[in-house]
């Protein structure tokens, strides 16, 4: 029954989406408002139907209805309830079902918020949203049908992939990723709506500006949650391996970051109209390309979901979207010519151009590296690998340059720079940079790019903090009040600007965390008998015992170590190996991590003697890792802060900003 309800909802959604798409286009062509309205209703209806389908699947999972194909594939009576629910996205079909739900939600929300306001542009955007949704519904009805019938009905299933049921972050990372990934469909749809309707002014950009920021924030959190997950689960003490799936989530993030900056240039100066359109199209295409690469078996990856006919569907979909958007974009290129103008080369606009240049080169490098194995095999017939050493070598210089721009950008005003102002603003960041440079050289740091990363981070951090400080001081002089009040008032008076600077500070924290944890990482591997000690810097870990625990769905072996910091007992650590019963013998590691603000101690159990006499472990110290996670939270806070709906207080809000602008934030 559940199966039939779920599948019927999907078939209905496909029909409704197809109808809505046609209705929207015909409605515009024939100028029939009723048709356009009914197309909008189609978007709402699809959301309702997908909600039914998803709830049906969750119900099927929770009630262990193994007659449903997907439940038989990932369900198991022994799996804890939470992991049963989140196994909704632990395999291919379920993840597409969930994707469809998120997309339907976004589409319905976008249509509801813009209802009847945008005319043809909105109707075309709806058609695009329904087309993209329809593609996913088609997958769900056809090759990736999660509601297939299993006969005879098995008594139990294997449970989800152990890697995906081993950590609570798996409840967080995929939904965040879909909220981010799928969110990029909306600005794309409105961009194409603008191209199709010929309404090429800034309307589409203003309508979707906040969408992009929200989707981008989710994507940021998702990427970092993924990093954190691999750090906490995979057992090698790292968080980024330049795996194709990681690259796939990173590329749209890069282009969306570029877009968030360059769209400001269009809003302010009427420049880069063609470029912004290209960026938002590229962002969407990269999300689809990433999904294709990892779902079709073209590139093997840790996270790949396996293959099937689904690859051909994706390829056809990419072909339609790519050709259509290229045709529309280039067809409108003469009309998208910029009517704006730059006052001066030394201005914030120029920094944004450079930021876009670096981010574009960055995206291109990652894309080329990800696809190069295919290219090399096509040309040379030889399999090659492009992995971490390549990406690090090619992109670290770009990262360092970007950090420098994060410092320089906020100092430069729009339009024209006043040399005296700039010089005054440069003093403190430059001093901070010199101080940090001196310190890292004194402590014996020799890694060239690491030194630059720390130095520029100091520069950028002080530069961004200075903007808060100057603004707060000006506000206090004008209106009095405490520092905290003035700061809060300042941020609320111009949330986009100060939200942005907050995000900058979070990014700098992440850069510091990444640099610290990769440059100063120390690792030791040892086989110890009971009572023996492994020492690494100030830490000593003493092997106490091997223990085992029987759980319904898995068997856990742990090694208990006492941790001594400078010879003093400071708790214990239990790196573990988990043997999932239904999934073969390959154990899944659960490393033990002791997190502190300045340094993480990380232990991974590699092997053990079956009599419990000895264990082989890796002990790793990684400074500043936790800064990466905190930094990402700060980025997300800044980004959400900048778009948080506020009551409009135009009169009171504008006044301080006007002064602020004129005085060049002095």
């Amino acid at each position: 029954m559940t199966r039939i309800i779920g599948y019927s909802a999907l078939v209905a959604a496909l029909a409704v989406a197809s109808y809505g798409m046609i209705a929207a286009i015909v409605g515009v062509k024939r100028r029939e408002a009723a048709l356009i309205r009914s197309a909008r209703s189609a978007a709402y209806t699809c959301f309702g139907l997908l909600t039914v389908a998803n709830l049906a699947m969750i119900y099927g999972l929770v009630t262990h209805d193994f007659s449903i194909d997907y439940v038989a594939q990932v369900g198991s009576r022994a799996t804890p309830l939470l992991f049963t629910v989140i196994s909704l996205w632990s395999a291919l079909e379920g993840s597409i079902l969930f994707w469809g739900w998120v997309l339907a939600f976004y589409a319905a929300l976008a249509m509801w918020l813009t209802r009847a306001k945008l005319g043809a542009l909105g109707a075309y955007a709806n058609a695009i949203l329904l087309f993209v949704s329809g593609f996913f519904y088609l997958l769900l009805v056809g090759p990736a049908n999660p509601f297939g019938l299993v006969s005879p009905v098995p008594m139990d299933g294997p449970g989800p992939n152990p890697l995906l049921q081993n950590h609570i972050l798996m409840a967080v990372h995929p939904p965040l990723l879909y909220l981010g990934y799928v969110g990029m469909t909306v600005p794309f749809a409105f961009g194409l709506g603008a191209l199709m309707s010929g309404r090429l002014d800034d309307t589409w950009l203003r309508v979707t500006r906040n969408w992009t920021i929200v989707a981008w924030s989710f994507l940021t959190l998702a990427i970092v949650a993924g990093m954190w997950w691999s750090y906490e689960v995979l057992g090698w003490g790292g968080y980024w391996a330049w795996d194709p799936v990681e690259n796939a989530s990173f590329m749209p993030w890069l282009t969306a970051t570029a877009f968030m900056h360059s769209s400001m240039v269009q809003e302010r100066r009427g420049l880069l109209r063609m470029w912004n359109m290209s960026l938002i199209i590229a962002t969407f295409l990269l999300t689809i390309l990433g999904t294709f690469l990892t779902r079709s078996g073209v590139i093997s990856s840790v996270h790949a979901f396996g293959e099937g006919p689904i690859g051909m569907f994706f390829l056809a979909f990419i072909a339609i979207i790519l050709v259509f958007s290229m045709v529309m974009l280039l067809g409108r290129s003469t009309e998208l010519r910029s009517d704006g103008h730059l006052d001066n080369m030394a201005s914030r606009e120029t920094v944004f151009l450079l930021n876009n240049l670096l981010l574009t080169a960055f995206t291109f490098t990652v894309l080329l590296g990800t696809l190069f194995p295919i290219l090399a095999e096509a040309v040379r017939g030889v399999k090659v690998s492009v992995g971490a050493p390549f990406f690090n070598r090619m992109t670290i210089p770009l990262c360092v340059a970007l950090v420098f721009l994060v410092g320089i950008g906020p100092m430069l005003p729009w339009r024209v720079v006043n040399a005296q102002d700039l010089r005054r603003k440069l003093v403190k960041p430059a001093l901070a940079a010199i101080l940090v440079l001196a310190v890292v050289l004194t402590v014996g740091m020799r890694d060239f790019w690491g030194i630059l990363a720390f130095t520029f981070s100091a520069f950028a951090a002080v530069s961004n903090i200075q903007e808060f400080a100057l603004g707060t001081a000006a506000r206090r002089r004008a209106g009095g009040g405490s520092w905290a009040e003035s700061l809060w008032g300042l941020m609320n008076a111009n949330p986009r600007r100060y939200g942005g600077y907050t995000a900058h500070l979070g990014l700098i924290m992440m850069v510091v965390g990444i640099t610290g944890s990769s440059v100063f990482r120390l690792e030791r591997e040892a086989t110890v008998r009971v009572g023996e000690v492994v020492q690494l810097q100030e830490y000593a870990v003493q092997f106490q015992e091997l223990w085992a625990r029987d759980e319904p769905h898995r068997f856990v072996v742990g090694a208990r170590f006492d941790v001594l910091v400078n010879g003093r007992l400071s708790g214990e650590m239990n790196p573990r190996l988990n043997y999932y019963r239904a999934r073969g013998s390959e154990p899944i590691t659960t490393p033990a991590v002791r997190t502190r603000a300045h340094k993480d101690l990380y232990m991974n159990l590699l092997a053990f003697e079956q009599d419990g006499s000895s264990a082989t472990v890796t002990v790793i110290t990684e400074p500043l890792v936790v800064w990466i996670w905190i930094g990402s939270a700060i980025i997300a806070f800044g980004a959400f802060f900048s778009v948080w709906p506020r009551r409009r207080q135009r009169a009171t809000v504008r006044a301080p900003r006007g002064r602020h602008e004129k005085a060049g934030v002095a």
């Binding site: 073209v298 045709v327 280039l330």
Partner: protein, 181 residues
Amino acid sequence: MNWRRSALGIGISIPILGLLAYGMTLDPRDIPSPLPGREAPEFALPVLDAPDTVRLADLRGEVVVLNFWASWCMECRYEHSDLSLAATMYEPRGVRFFGVLYNDTPANGRAWIREMGGQTYPALMDAGSRTAVSYGLYGVPETFIIDQNGVVVHKQIGPITLSRLASLLEPLLEGEAEVSS
């Protein structure tokens, strides 16, 4: 709309799509080994439960079937009876079969052989996987066929069957060795 420029859009799209379509024809897990056609790496491995050491150099003039296996390997179970049977069939015709125990303990190996009902060819120990790496091993089971001149003629990834073995060994024994991978 400027349709001439639009056409350019199609021109840009085609190479990208071509590359992706080509990518779909590839199997990223199928990595060709450089070994077939080359001289087989030398090894000298102790025999499990016997005082002997087997050296490849001593086996010139004979065809060698080198099978890497482990007790924890599921697929090794499928090929074991075929290998044992092939060994009894081809030993008299001058083919030497060896099973190299990969990443496993002698005790586990011994128990496994007993569980499988014996093995008609010697098991060799490869401490530290030195020989496995010199043969470019990815996992188990993998089987290498080395001709009378000590050249690798075939690498089989995954379980091997009796008929496959026969089709590989017969030409070698008839002296029409061909290199395949």
